[in-house]
């Protein structure tokens, strides 16, 4: 089995809520338990999908791994090194090897910087390139890699002069220019037009081959996850409920939540319609997480134990993990 590039163990992020008058009187602390104890690894060279509805904690997980936010508990390993407690100075060489592409290319690029400056900034921060000439060469090369050709035509333009797809290419170039090993792609295509999404996914796949990348692909769109991912984890309210090979999960999902999620996805074929959605209601607030299995209030198969005990996240087939009492062996 290929070795793990990234490994997280019992990772948690609880955001404290601002205390109101009454809660401070009663001394009860309230937290948004955005990520609430997750364990998984991302193997070298794979595209690992993290899917879930809004509020499931997938974006928070991506940021925790890059240490853009500090975890409340748990460990993060990158290439075998525990980076959870590294100081920002110690972290700097790792930052170069792990980069992020954000969802919205209209927000993630500084409107006052030219494309050249946007991509040169990480080079300057990390002291790459002897002089501006050398940097210019690196930048031109990376622009070519993301298909912004000819690069000279883009160098001195500003983000507002580019289309959404071109901006996202600049964001990818900025991430790639440091030659990272690992990229967190947080909903990288959801703000783009339909006709250019495929192009962006194909570009990400090509770059993965060309630069030997590993991706964490965060998405709410299971159809694109199926297209690009090798493995996928499904999150619900801060926990991973199911994890496995993408084809396994798509063809034989086991967790009732994964099944409902897949059943709800419309298919671009008028002969296939969405059937009955077996679950009701909507994802509850991560402030008041239900006791026991956090999915039990919506689960059509909930048993008494589901209300009391949190199910263990365990491997039930080789490589297929699930947290559900329905699959308890006894």
């Amino acid at each position: 089995m290929p070795e793990a590039l990234v490994r997280v163990v019992n990772l948690k992020k609880w955001f404290p809520l601002r205390k109101g008058f009454f809660s401070s009187l009663f001394g009860r602390e309230l937290y948004v338990r955005a990520v609430d104890g997750i364990t998984f690894e991302i193997r070298k060279g794979e595209i690992f999908g993290l899917a879930g509805e809004s509020g499931s904690g997938k974006t928070t997980t991506g940021r925790l791994i890059l240490r853009l936010i500090e975890p409340t508990e748990g460990e993060i390993y990158f290439e075998g090194t525990n980076i959870t407690k590294l100081s920002s100075r110690e972290l700097k060489p790792y930052r170069r090897r792990m980069q992020i592409i954000f969802q919205d290319p209209y927000e993630s690029l500084n409107p006052r910087m030219t494309i050249y400056d946007i991509i040169a900034e990480p080079l300057r921060v990390h002291g790459i390139g002897e002089n501006e000439e050398e940097r210019l060469e690196i930048i031109c090369k990376i622009l070519e890699s993301v298909q912004l050709i000819p690069p000279e035509e883009f160098l001195y333009r500003y983000p507002h002069e580019l289309s959404g797809g071109q901006r996202q290419r600049v964001a990818i170039a900025r991430a790639l220019v440091l030659r990272p090993k690992f990229i967190v792609a947080d909903e990288p295509i959801s703000m783009l037009d339909m006709s250019i999404r495929a192009e962006m996914l194909n570009l990400m796949l090509n770059l993965k081959e060309q630069y030997g990348l590993t991706y964490l692909y965060i998405t709410h769109d299971l159809a694109t996850a199926r297209y690009v991912c090798d493995r996928i984890a499904i999150m619900y309210l801060g926990k991973i409920v199911e994890l496995g090979d993408i084809d396994d999960i798509m063809e034989s999902p086991l967790h009732p939540y994964t099944r409902a999620l897949l059943a709800a996805v419309p298919v671009p074929d008028p002969e296939i319609k969405i059937g009955e959605i077996p679950i009701k209601g909507e994802i509850p607030s991560p402030i008041n997480i239900p006791p026991g299995c956090r999915f039990h209030p919506r689960c059509p198969f909930a048993k008494p134990i589901c209300q009391k005990e949190e199910p263990e996240f365990k491997e039930i087939e080789p490589g297929h993990f699930i947290a559900c009492h329905l699959y308890d062996s006894d």
Partner: protein, 322 residues
Amino acid sequence: MPLLSVESLRMYYQVGRGFVKAVDGVSFNLGKGETLGIAGESGCGKSSLALTLLRILPSNARIIDGSVLLEERDILKMNEETLRKEIRWKRISIVFQGAMNALNPVFRVGDQIAEAILLHEDVTKEEAHRRARELLKLVGIPPSRADNYPHEFSGGMKQRVMIAMALACNPDIVIADEPTTALDVIVQAQILKLLKDLRAKLNLSLILITHDLSIISEICDKVAIMYAGKIMEYGSAYDIFKNPLHPYTQGLIAAIPSIRGPKKKLRSIPGTPPDLLNPPSGCPFHPRCPYADEICRQEPPPLVRLGRDRYVVCHKIEEGSA
């Protein structure tokens, strides 16, 4: 005779540098109880088309040409008063994109629905409130929740309220502009199911505007594929998905992944959607079209009818070739 018949509709926005041709010669029919999907990418004019049908346009919009016949009466020729009293809400209503955020946070949900009824119909307050509760029930919300405020509702429930409001005056046609875009996939499936149920129960006609072809295939009988203010292809959902003829439609369908069926390599359409202020000459799709030649660059493509409810706007399609 269709319920709604749109013919050669043109609506341009006047801006400093000229005209933005947002709706540029659009024709389609909508029958009673039918659902038409209008699909297209951002900036193709699909939302502008919806606004034009109800004539709720900003002041710089100019309706240049065409007709919108609602049972033989041309909406474009009506005066504002007739439109307000007889058409909007009563015959055609609209659920806007992101409308769930348009609920007023300081009023009770029931009161907001009742207000819509009171504005358009001559009924007592009690009657309006009674109907508001009925409407909530119709969209799957317990009537007791009429006294709640919007913040007590989830996103999906707010969208249900907006649909209830659109149904307040028993319209024949509901236009839904990206009704599920901000919603999660399970809630989206619930809202689509609600729309289907309402359509069957009330014999509603729906115009569904979205960029998501999967949603169109889920709920629509007919589909119009829009590009640069024009409908490039129009036909039954079955024909559009199983036998797309326009290169743009073919490109769109090849570009979307599915969770079912064999995994295929996704193909993309090169280039980007055009600037409507300065659209390409000839066929607006020609800079991105793999089959484009000289005539496509120079002459606007003809509308080729291939049946009563099927047409393609393309130089490369010949009559009868479907």
